[in-house]
Amino acid sequence: MDLSYGAAAEAFRAEVRAFLSLHWPPPSDMRGADLKAFIRTFRALATGEGYLYRAIPKIYGGSEQPVDVIKAQVIREEFARARAPMEVGGNGMNMTVPTLIEKGTEEQKELFIQKTVEGDYIWGQGYSEPGSGSDLASVRTKGELSADGTKWIINGQKIWTSQGMQSTHMFMLVRTEPHAPKHDGITYLLIDLDQPGVTRRPIRQMTGEKGDHTFCEFFFDNAETPVSWQVGERGQGWTVSRTTLKHERASIGGADGLGKQFAKLVDLAKEVGRIDDPIVRDKLAQIEGSVLSHRYSSFRIFSCAAAGEDAGPVTLMMKLLLTEIGHEMALLAQELIGEHGFLEPAGAGGRGNRGRRGPEKWLDQIMGSLGNSIAGGASNIQRNIIGERGLGLPRDLAMGGER
């Protein structure tokens, strides 16, 4: 075992650093449109060097690099150290672009990929509907062809769209063949959200969050999109929606975030004067056993990915493990904050700078640890995946229709 990345990676790291020292940061007094332009130029330069958009073909604005998880990791580390902007994130990069690369028409690729890569188009995900929960194939939002056959007319409702208030476009599943079997009657559409038939509403969460960055509900009332914006065959939307980004996905970033949060929990125990309490020490060390298991397993997954090997079922477990650790940390945090828990932390549930906050800031984590387990697929679905895909147990009868 060897946790160093090796000489080649270190040479590459020097290159990246040299690039960054030349092109980042912007002048300290730069603001507004100038700063935006600077960042856009910086990203273009970094892409030119092969540091960003490595999975995206060059013709659509990517750098089209061979898979190299070590290089990718070095890039992440160095950009993070320099606080330089990485790729534009969000659903567009994670979902729309890979789907279009694999299943889109030439027209669609040209229309959308570069604009997404450059951050001009921001995509909302239109999968969940009120009442659908984990049963994503239970789509009820209707798509009907216009009389002239050139447009899809969309009616219905979508929910839990992250970045919904910012989104310019949506990729969505709509039911176009009401009489076909559940999974066969769905079509995958792209739609421009800036039209009269679309209404959006932020969802206020129990954390108190109701800001620009929260989840949204979307209402479609005879909204329209051209038939040419349909991805894949009509009725094959369920299969299209299963396309995911596999390129250089391995990263040891997730675990670092967990480690930092755990360190803050230790700090909290010190801050409230409980660090010498044997019960607190024992509980902290118990949690740390799981935190380190997660951390070292991310090393393992990363190492396998770098070697082109399959790390096995452990990859299916990382998300649920993270969720469970979050619960344990929440319960201990609650014990530690004591009566500070009476206070609503400033800007509860929101993002960005919320000023100085005391131990009550853990309220965000205490509630957020529940949100995690809901947002990315309920924990019971994760357990099914581990049991079925990881351990080879037979599928649930009631969910037999899912693929």
Binding site: S128, P130, G131, S132, G133, S134, D135, S138, I159, W160, I203, R204, Q205, M206, T207, G208, K210, I279, H327, A330, L331, Q334, E335, I337, G338, E339, G341, F342, L343, E344, A346, A348, E360, L363, I366, M367, L370, G371, S373, I374, A375, A378, S379, N380, R383, D396, A398, M399, G401, E402
Partner: protein, 327 residues
């Protein structure tokens, strides 16, 4: 041998439940939660009109068990107002012969509880009186004028806390630290908070079960799926047997049994843990909708956190219970 509720007790619970259903539906909670008040006069008056204020006066024919049953329903409804403080203030005033019992019984004077050593009290801005119950320093009744109140944004939106500073010698001493009544009032407070927690835990369990019976996925009510069914069974298993723990603690207090202080500590510790576990499980059982503000589960979630922290954490009371057992 009688260790279950009488018809009268069930009737009282029914009356309180009915009143709160009318006056304190989720729409009212939403409005209150987004307002700036820490007290809701209409729901308070409606509760007081039921004659609940005097439950802990010697002649009432009722006792801590009855008070706990009412606090349980208040917890279920996530009722606003300093009910626990009011009930204890009446008990303290009636037993000490000092203060204006009548105004407190009727609810025209509002009293809130300040736990010894704590800087917080619910409905502090609305309170006329502060009842300080401190095992180390005794019981004092302090007029609002002598207290300094700093409003804060409270996490528990149904029973908002404020920061309170009261000079050591403010108001009037009702009982010295050595007076057995001081410890009894402190114990009673623990039982009443445990009852609030019981009511809340039962409520979110019922909400979860109801949702699982109605909501369909994959063509089935989700409550048919074994994993969720077992999660719900565990919520019920956490709550329902613990009910008798609250009953016993209240009964032991009323009957002045030797293990009453320990039973109060155990009930507070156990039920507050149950409440936190159950509200977390309820959010998970609901999925996305349970995480929305609008659905309302968050009110109980936040109240569970407040109940847990108020009057000392479960670990603190378990440590006390261990010492009281002579371990």
């Amino acid at each position: 041998m009688h260790f279950h509720l009488t018809e009268e007790q069930q009737a009282i619970q029914g009356a309180v439940r009915g009143t709160l259903a009318d006056i304190w539906p989720i729409e009212r909670i939403h409005a209150f939660a987004d307002g700036d008040e820490d007290f809701d006069r209409a729901s308070w008056d409606a509760l007081m009109a039921l004659g609940l204020g005097g439950m802990l006066t010697p002649g009432s024919g009722m006792g801590l068990l009855d008070a706990a049953l009412v606090c349980e329903v208040a917890g279920e409804a996530a009722a606003a107002g300093p009910l626990i403080g009011q009930l204890l203030a009446v008990a303290a005033v009636a037993a000490s012969g000092k203060g204006d019992a009548e105004a407190l019984v009727s609810g025209t004077q509002v009293a809130t509880l300040v736990h010894g050593g704590s800087d917080y009290a619910p409905s502090a801005r609305a309170a006329d009186l502060f009842l300080i119950v401190d095992r180390e320093k005794g019981v004092r009744l302090v007029p609002a004028a002598e207290a300094t109140i700093e409003p804060v944004k409270a996490a528990d939106r149904t029973r908002p806390m404020s920061k309170v500073a009261i000079p050591d010698n403010a108001g009037e001493t009702l009982f010295s630290a050595a007076d057995p009544m001081t410890a009894r009032l402190a114990d009673a407070a623990l039982v009443l908070v445990a009852a609030d927690a019981l009511g809340g835990a039962q409520k979110v369990t019922d909400m979860s079960v109801g949702y699982a019976r109605e909501r369909e996925q994959f063509g089935q009510p989700i409550g048919r799926f074994q994993a969720l069914k077992h999660q719900l069974a565990h919520m019920a298993l956490d709550v329902e047997p613990a009910r008798a723990l609250v009953w016993y603690a209240a009964y032991a207090w009323d009957a002045q049994l030797p293990d009453a202080p320990r039973a109060a500590a155990m009930a507070k510790a156990h039920l507050c843990d149950v409440y936190v576990r159950t509200t977390r499980a309820a959010v998970a059982a609901h999925g996305g909708i349970g995480y929305t503000w609008e659905y309302g589960l968050g009110y109980w979630f936040r109240r569970a956190m407040a109940d847990r922290a108020w009057l000392g954490s479960p670990a603190e009371h378990r440590a006390r219970a261990a010492t009281l057992a002579g371990w």
